[in-house]
Structure formats: C-alpha cells, structure tokens
C-alpha cells in the first residue's frame, strides 16, 4: 500500500525502484516527500548526503508493523528537487494525485469475463448493499440476479461481479465490493483533519489505497468497523469519489 513492492496477480512480487513521493501540503509550509520502494544502504546514504547538501534533512519515523517512514522535509520545492537530483532518486510530484489520475474508475476496472459458476458449490455469499458485508446467498440467486458474489468451489474461492443477470466477470475483490456499493453514501470526510473514513469492508484496491496513503506516507488506521486515511485533501477526496463511485454521507 505504501508503494514499496508491487505484487502481480500471480502472487509474484518485486521491490519497486526507489522514488521520492511528494506529499500534498496540509497545514504546514514545508514540502515533504517520502521514500517509496527499495531502500538499500546506498540509497539511504545517498539521500542523507543529498539532504544535508540541499537543506532538506532526512528523518526516519518508525511505524509499527511496517518499514520505517523515511521522509524529507524541505522548505521549498526547489530544495526537494535538488535533493532528488543530487541523490539520483526520481521525484514524483503530487504522487497521490498522479496515481489517482492514472487509475481507472471502478466502473472501468479490469475484469475477466467468465461463465457463471454451475454445479455443486460449497458456499455462496453476496455482498449486501445495505449491510455492507457478506450475506448468505445461493447459486440460484447468483445466477439470476446482478451483484457481487463470493463462491466457494471445491478448492478455491472466486469473486464474480455480475453487472447484469447475464454478464459475469472475475474482478479484484476490493474493486468488486466497491462496485456493488456504487453511489451509496458510505464515505465520510472530516473537514478539519482531512480524515477520510470508509467502512472496513470497503478498503479500496491497491492503487487507490496507495494514493490515499501517500497523502501522509503512513498506513491507514483500522478501527473496529472503519478504515481511516488521514490528511486527504479535498481534491484527492473528489477524485476518490469519482473513481469509486461512492458518495459522502
């Protein structure tokens, strides 16, 4: 979620190249950038040296259960750019906005058309729009109605999004849940703290969650029923709502 590694659908993963992701300004005059991707000793040493030279000191903030947050605080964008150029690390301006700008909407999310599951299955669950959770369902209901279904076959689970009664497609589970709750008012955003809250079941797909996390560089906060992203500016909120199709409460 923080952009350190990339995981493919085949469950292979790769460490991403190091990049300084610029955070949106919020309530402070300084410009901040966090290091995402590989962080070998050479990278860190280079950043430290470049930070001292550019007047953008590098700090390390430990995060429980995650790699330390390596952050550069600069008085201006020039200092950030100079830091990146001196260290040899790419600088991604407004990383959150750029990632969202290159993310397809949930309505256009990649999916693989498939035939509806038939035969004997163990469990069929449907993601309820009203309850925002999985509820019991049946294969007959899944075959006849649109919705997002989770079906347990002999040895695996499959997630099928039915946009209509006849059209079925495999889709990422997170994207499917959000697609099932299209236009529902489930998002809350605090104007003072810029904290965006979603139901826990609606953790966005990786790219969207990464964009939201890169508003501060920290992982979201998971409470009992909600997931909260801090420091989400209004523009990012607007784009998130446009991409997900959800609405504010």
């Amino acid at each position: 979620m923080l952009g350190h590694v990339e995981v493919s659908a085949a469950q292979t993963w790769q460490v991403a190249p190091p990049v300084l992701a610029v955070l949106p300004q919020h309530g402070h005059a300084e410009w901040q950038a966090v290091l995402c991707g590989a962080r070998t000793q050479g990278v860190l040493q280079s950043l430290q040296a470049a930070g001292s030279e550019a007047g953008a000191p590098i700090s390390r903030v430990p995060i429980d259960g995650a790699p330390d947050l390596v952050r550069a605080d600069a008085p201006s964008q020039s200092a950030l750019a100079k830091l990146a150029e001196t260290a040899g690390v790419p600088l991604q301006h407004n990383a959150a906005l750029t990632l969202l700008a290159c993310t397809p909407t949930i309505a256009d999310w990649p999916r693989t058309p498939c035939a509806m599951v038939r035969g004997r299955v163990d469990t069929v669950l449907r993601f309820s729009r009203s309850k925002v959770t999985w509820v019991e369902s049946s294969l007959e209901e899944a075959s006849q109605n649109a919705g997002f279904y989770r079906i347990r076959r002999d040895w695996d689970w499959v997630y099928i999004l039915k946009s209509t009664a006849s059209a079925s497609a495999y889709i990422d589970v997170r994207a499917g849940r959000i697609a099932a709750l299209s236009k529902r008012r489930v998002v809350s955003w605090d104007q003072g703290s810029w904290t965006l809250s979603l139901p826990g079941q609606l953790l966005p797909p990786t790219l969207i969650a990464r964009s939201l996390a890169l508003c501060t560089g920290a992982l979201p906060n998971f409470t009992d029923r909600e997931v909260q992203f801090a420091g989400v500016p209004p523009l990012i909120l607007q784009l998130t709502l446009a991409i997900t199709g959800l609405r504010r409460r």
């Binding site: 190249p17 990049v19 050479g42 909407t105 446009a242």
Partner: protein
C-alpha cells in the same frame, strides 16, 4: 472590322470587371477605415451572400496591413463564420472563453484608439515567436476592461512581417507543440476567436476585431478582411468525433465542407467556450479556402499531411512527439519534425531507475580466481567412480565461457552459482597439484593442491561433492594416493570410523589414486595426524552457522547486511580463515576477517574443521539499478482515461511513453514547461476533473489558467532546474508560452528565490532568442 469590334468589346468587358473590382475593394477599404475611426455601430451580419464585403466590427479593431489583405468576393461561400458565444455564455462580462484571447465585445472607441496607437508601436517591435500562442495566453495588456485580453497585446505578439523576415523559423502564430496525444492549441484558434468570428486573414492574425456591444462575438466579419478559413484540424490522436471543453463536457464538432471544427454546442451560462482541438499548421498563413478547395477539402487529419485521414485511436497510441511546425520554403511543402530529444536516453534509463551510473566492470584478469570443486559420480551398480570438475560462477562471470584447454570446450552456466561440469578426461593429473583453469576471456578458476580429496553428499547437488574436511557422523568418500591408503585407514581407526571400502575406479579415473568409501568419523583423532591428512580429522566437531543478515537466497546476503558467522564450539587452536584471510572473533561472538562483508563469494574455512561458503550480493544502487515493473492491468476501456491509460505505475512512480508524468487539477488551460525547453499541454480525463501529461524531462513550471484575466492565470514552480534534454536550439513553443505568460504578468506561485531566478532565466532566454531571430 467585325473582329476589331469584337476584340474591343471583349477588352471593354474585361476593363469593366476590373474597374468594378477595384472600386469595390476601395469601397471596402474606405468603410473599414471609417469604422476604425470610431463610428461604432453594430457589427455587420455575417457575410453569407455572394458579394457583400464583410464589414469591420467597430472599436478596438486594427488593420495593420490592410493594403496587403486579399479579398476574393468570389470566395464568399468559403467564408467560415464561427458563431461566437452568446453573451450569457461568456465567462465574465461577455468576454470570450479563457482560451480566446479576444478583445471583448464591448470595447469602446476611445480604448480602441489607445489600443490602436500603442498597438502600432508595439507591432513594429514585435517579432516572431511571440504570437499569442493559444487560448488563454494571449499577449494582451488590460484594456479599459480590467484583465481583458486586448487586441493590443495580440498585435504585439504577432508580427505579420515576421514570416518574411525569418524564413524557416516558425511563423508568428506559433503555439505550443502538443505533447503526445495532447490537444494542440493553435494561435489561429485564438485569433479566430479574437476577431469576433471574422475569419482572419494572414494579415489579420492576432488582430482582434472586437465586438460592438451586444454583438455576437465572432459572428461578424471584419470589413476588408479577406476572409479566410481557420482550419481547425483535430490532433492526430484526439477523438475526432468529440472534443471536450475545459470542464469536461463533450462538444461535438461541426462538420463544414469536409473539415471539422470543434465548436461549442451548449455551454452553461458561465462556462467558457470549449477550446477547439486541432493540430498545428505547418504553414502559418491562414489560408483562405476557395469553394473549390472546400469541396475537395480532405478530412482533418489529411489536410496537412496529404495522407488519408486515419481514425484516431482513442489515446491508445501516441506519436513520439507532435510535429513541430516549421515554415517550409515556399510555403508549400510540409515539414514534419519529430522531437525526440531525451526520448532515447530516457527509454534506456527506464530499465535502471534511480541509480547512479554503474561502476566500470572488472576485467577478467583483475578478478580473483573462482573456486573449482570436484564431483565424484559413483555408478550405483558397477560401483565405479568418475570425477568431474565443477566451476563456480561468481557474480560478473558470463553465461558461457570457452576454456583455454584442448578442444576449447564451451561451458554453459548451470545456474547463478556454477557452470556445467567439465569432463577433464586425459587432461592430466589435476588431482596432484594445484589445479588452475582459465577461459579464453580471462576468467580463472583454482583449486588448491591437497594430498587427499574428501567428498560428501550435498543436498543441492547430485553425486558427491568435494569438501574441505570431514565432519563427525557424516559419511565421506576419500580420494587419496594409492600409497597413502594405509595412512587413511589408520586415520579412520583413530577417528572412530568404520573401515573404509575401496571402490573401483572408472576407466577415465586418474591413475595412482584410490577411492575409499564409508569414512564416517565419530570423534577427533586420537593419534598425531600425518602431514597432509588434516582434513580427515573432524577436529572438535565444529559447526559453522550463518545467522541474521538480509538473506536474499540461501547463503546469499545483501550488501550492507552480511550474516553473523558463528562457530560452535570454540575452535581453539584451529585456524579460521574467511576468504583466505585470517579471521578473528568479535565481541558479539561473530567471526570476521578483512573483506568478509564485501560483495562476492566467501569461504569460511576451519583447519582442521568444516568449511561453509556464502555470497554477498552488491547493492543495486551501485551497479545496475532497479528495473521498472508494472503489474497493473490496463483498463478495458481506455478512452475515458485518455492519455492516462498509457501510464505505467511502479510503486509510487508513474511513467509514460515520453517519460515523467505530471497530473494537475483540471483547468481550462494547463501547460507544463521544462526548465530550458519542452512545452506540453496537459490532457484532461473525461471522467474525472484531472489532467495529465508525460514529459521527457521533469517539468519545471506549470501554467494554469481559468480565464483570460490576469488573476485567473498562474505559473506554478515545480523546482526542477536540471533538464535532461540538452537541445542546442530552444523549443519555439516553449519560448512562446514563456513569452506570453511573461507579457501577461502571470504570478509565479510556489516559488522561492530559486524559482524566481529560474523564471527570470527563462524569460531572458526568450528575449535573447527573439533578438537573435529578428
């Protein structure tokens, strides 16, 4: 006589026609001059009939070179009249769209006089490259209508003489070269808007005609203005059927005479007109289209290139660059130029992101020789043994090597750690002395001389593999000289091993050597160890373990995070070496030696005792860097995403076909500028209020404008001052944009001293360019 009369009549007719034409031209000129003097009045209706000359809209208009304007009454049907936006449709105070640097409809005569006077002076000083380059960036000073783009500035931006002065240079009305897939914004469009719908002539480019109060902006045609067609052609990759305005609403282009125009359909009361999308004209003259030409007009994509119009793929394929307009000699041929500056260099660097230049690889001669081990293969039935050599493959060794021995065998790499076995039949007594092998490229392998060779099983290898010393409780096979067999049997007895069994040698096994299998020591030797047979003593049952460190693979660690080498129990008097260097115990119990944590292969050797090898991988930061990766599937429907569909996301880094990605909140006008060149217009998404562009170098500035008022446009500083493109000649479109933003005095945001210096440097560069190309 009759012939003479006929001839005279014909001549008379010709003279009469000429006379009428001259008179009409003179009348048109007179009318135009009259209006310039401030007669006011409403703009004449659209000239759609066959003969009436278009009239000059009053106030604020200027005809810098009216005497050079061409007027073809017969081409009246080819007048392209562009419906101006309704006053209520205009942005503010009836101003045209922020993309149309037009003089405002309700200019007054007094202001027009002032504009005319100052404009004439400025026109003389204007030069090419400063034309109003596009919507929203007109070089206009505020008129009596604060913030409105006036004709004066447009005139300043355009020098009709310029095309003639600087052949080969871009025509005055240069506009930003659109980036791949971006929507080019031509100054011609702005001119068209400016001239109140009067289709401007080559002479009237940049000269706003203004509008009488209440008139419909661009509907009137300037009197005396030779009507010409603003040919608007969709960019190669723009959707030809639909274009969008700055607010994301779709606008259907009008098709007129086979040419397509992006026109407003229905905008809201306060929404600015939609900027048309079109490709840059290589010929800067605004050419008037005769009816014949209009009838034969090709489609928008072939009008310039002469090639059949191809359907534009919806942002799935972008040209490397947009054609840079240039002025062809004679104005006939089309010059297509693709700006590839930085493209190749950047594409080469994509495979190794964020890394300094890799260090110079070591030559084979400078490398330390690698280890050569032996493999003993025992036939399961015949119980005969054959021996082969295993060449290790340290980091940096090639995939194939040609050995400098008889036959020049070529050995392929088996995996990252070793090569295929080498069969050294008949090579010589490689068991006797130190064994050295070299490839034709200079890579070397060595195996120390030893009187006995100890083999044991290795879970990662087949057969038995040579090892440094025996270990208690492990079965070994000993290869020794035939004369040393009795000593070996004594050692077996002294170490508590069962009696070794002699194996038969294979046909190709070196003579003079014997194989003894079943050597399983259980204790350290109870008798003095003969010289050379130290490996047969398990010693104190020492074990070597590797702990901690960042393990990439088994026994492979990352540079900077080596393993902690532990030896248990204490080796006592046994000699411990790492990589041939004597090792010492540290305070935390680990063993270290000189160069023990350097990149490369290392061998922990205890004599007497076991050996363990490990490898340190070099930091990619110092070598090849990281390769980019993108595991995100492309969207099934890329059309709404537009240019963004071509992005590659790797971690937090977003790359595109041309390089660096920049996203911005959607504005009616967004242009990204490099530090020394490169101007790219951001392309909006149709489904979200965001625009994006890909640039060959990190962007230094972003010009964003919401309207044509000064306070509605800003230049944002992004901080980059080290361009990657080292173009010898400046990007003309970049010059234009900087010039126009400077003339409009747009404020510089997010800037510090460095940013202000950078902006000033950009302006200075533009000024120098203008001086040099006058």
């Amino acid at each position: 006589m009759t012939d003479f009369l006929l001839l005279a009549a014909a001549v008379g007719v010709v003279l009469a026609i000429a006379y009428i034409a001259v008179r009409r031209r003179g009348r048109a000129t007179a009318k135009r001059r009259t209006r310039i003097s401030g007669d006011g009045g409403e703009a004449p209706p659209v000239s759609g009939d066959g003969g009436r000359s278009p009239t000059i809209p009053p106030s604020g208009t200027h005809r810098a070179s009216a005497d050079r304007q061409k007027h073809d009454e017969s081409a009246s049907d080819a007048w392209r009249v562009r419906r101006s936006p309704e006053p209520e449709d205009l942005g503010e105070k009836g101003t045209t769209s922020p993309l149309h640097s037009s003089a405002r409809p309700d200019l007054e005569s007094a202001s027009c006089e002032r504009q005319l006077t100052s404009g004439r002076a400025e026109l003389a000083a204007s030069s090419s490259g400063t034309a109003s380059s596009g919507p929203g960036i007109a070089t206009t000073k505020p008129t009596n209508h604060a913030g409105d783009l006036g004709a004066e500035e447009l005139r300043e931006a355009v020098d009709p003489e310029e095309p003639n002065r600087v052949p080969g240079a871009a025509a005055p009305n240069l506009h930003p070269v659109p980036g791949p897939g971006t929507a080019p914004q031509s100054v011609e469009t702005m001119d068209r808007h400016v001239e109140s719908g009067g289709t401007p002539s080559p002479r009237t480019r940049g000269r706003p005609t203004g509008h009488p109060p209440g008139s419909q902006g661009a509907t009137s045609i300037s009197e005396g203005d030779p009507p010409s067609v603003m040919e608007v052609h969709a960019p190669p990759n723009a959707p030809t059927d639909v274009t969008t305005d700055g607010h994301g609403s779709e606008v259907s282009p009008r098709k007129t005479g086979g040419r397509r125009r992006a026109a407003r359909t229905s905008a809201g009361p306060l929404s600015p007109p939609i900027p048309p999308t079109f490709e840059p004209e290589s010929d800067r003259r605004i050419r008037r289209v005769t009816p014949a030409e209009a009838a034969d007009a090709p489609g928008p994509n072939q009008a310039r290139t002469g090639t059949p119009a191809a359907p534009d793929p919806p942002h799935t394929e972008l040209p490397a660059t947009a054609p840079l307009p240039s002025r062809p000699p004679g104005g006939q041929s089309r010059v297509s130029y693709q700006d590839r500056r930085g493209t190749k260099r950047f594409r080469e660097s994509v495979g190794k992101l964020a890394s300094p230049p890799p260090a110079t690889p070591k030559s084979p001669v400078d490398r330390a020789p690698a280890e050569a081990r032996l493999r003993l293969s025992v036939h399961p039935l015949r119980r005969t043994a054959e021996i082969s050599v295993m060449l290790s493959r340290p980091d940096g060794f090639p995939d194939r090597v040609e050995l400098a021995i008889a036959g020049r065998p070529i050995i392929e790499a088996y995996d990252d750690t070793r090569y295929d076995d080498v069969d050294l039949r008949g090579v010589g007594t490689f068991l006797d002395d130190e064994f050295r092998l070299q490839s034709t490229e200079g890579f070397r392998w060595v195996r120390r001389a030893r009187p006995v060779h100890v083999f044991t099983s290795d879970p990662a290898e087949t057969g038995l593999v040579s090892t440094g010393a025996v270990r208690t409780g492990v079965q070994h096979t000993i290869v020794c000289r035939t004369t040393d067999v009795p000593l070996v049997r004594q050692m077996a007895e002294a170490t508590g091993s069962p009696k070794p069994v002699e194996l038969s040698r294979g046909d190709h096994f070196p003579s003079g050597w014997t194989l003894l299998s079943g050597y399983v020591p259980s204790r350290s030797s109870t008798m003095p160890i003969p010289d050379g047979l130290t490996p047969l003593d398990p010693g104190s049952d020492l074990t070597i373990s590797l702990e901690a460190g960042l393990s990439i693979r088994p026994r492979v660690y990352a540079e900077g995070q080596p393993p902690r080498i532990l030896i248990h129990p204490d080796p006592g008097r046994a000699a411990v070496t790492i990589g041939g260097q004597p090792a010492t115990e540290t305070s935390d119990g680990g063993w270290e030696a000189a160069g023990w944590d350097a990149p490369g292969h290392h061998l922990v050797d205890i004599v007497p005792g076991p050996t363990v090898s490990y490898q340190i991988l070099p930091d990619p930061w110092r070598t090849r860097g990281w390769s980019s990766c993108s595991f995100h599937e492309p969207p099934p429907n890329p059309k709404p995403m537009g240019l963004a569909a071509q992005a590659q996301i790797c971690g937090a880094l977003v790359l595109g076909p041309e390089g660096h990605a920049l996203a911005w909140e959607k504005h009616p006008l967004l242009i990204a500028l490099g530090f020394r060149g490169v101007a790219r217009a951001l392309r909006p998404r149709t489904d979200m209020p965001v625009s994006i562009v890909f640039m060959p170098e990190p962007p230094a500035f972003v010009l964003a404008a919401r309207g044509n008022r000064r306070k509605q446009g800003h230049v944002y500083w992004l901080g980059h001052t080290r361009p990657r493109t080292n173009a010898s000649s400046p990007d003309l479109d970049w010059c234009r944009i900087v010039r126009l933003a400077s003339v409009r005095r747009l404020s510089l945001e997010n800037s510090d001293a460095e940013g202000m210096r950078a902006w000033e440097a950009a302006r200075s560069k533009v000024r120098r360019f203008r001086r040099n190309h006058r």
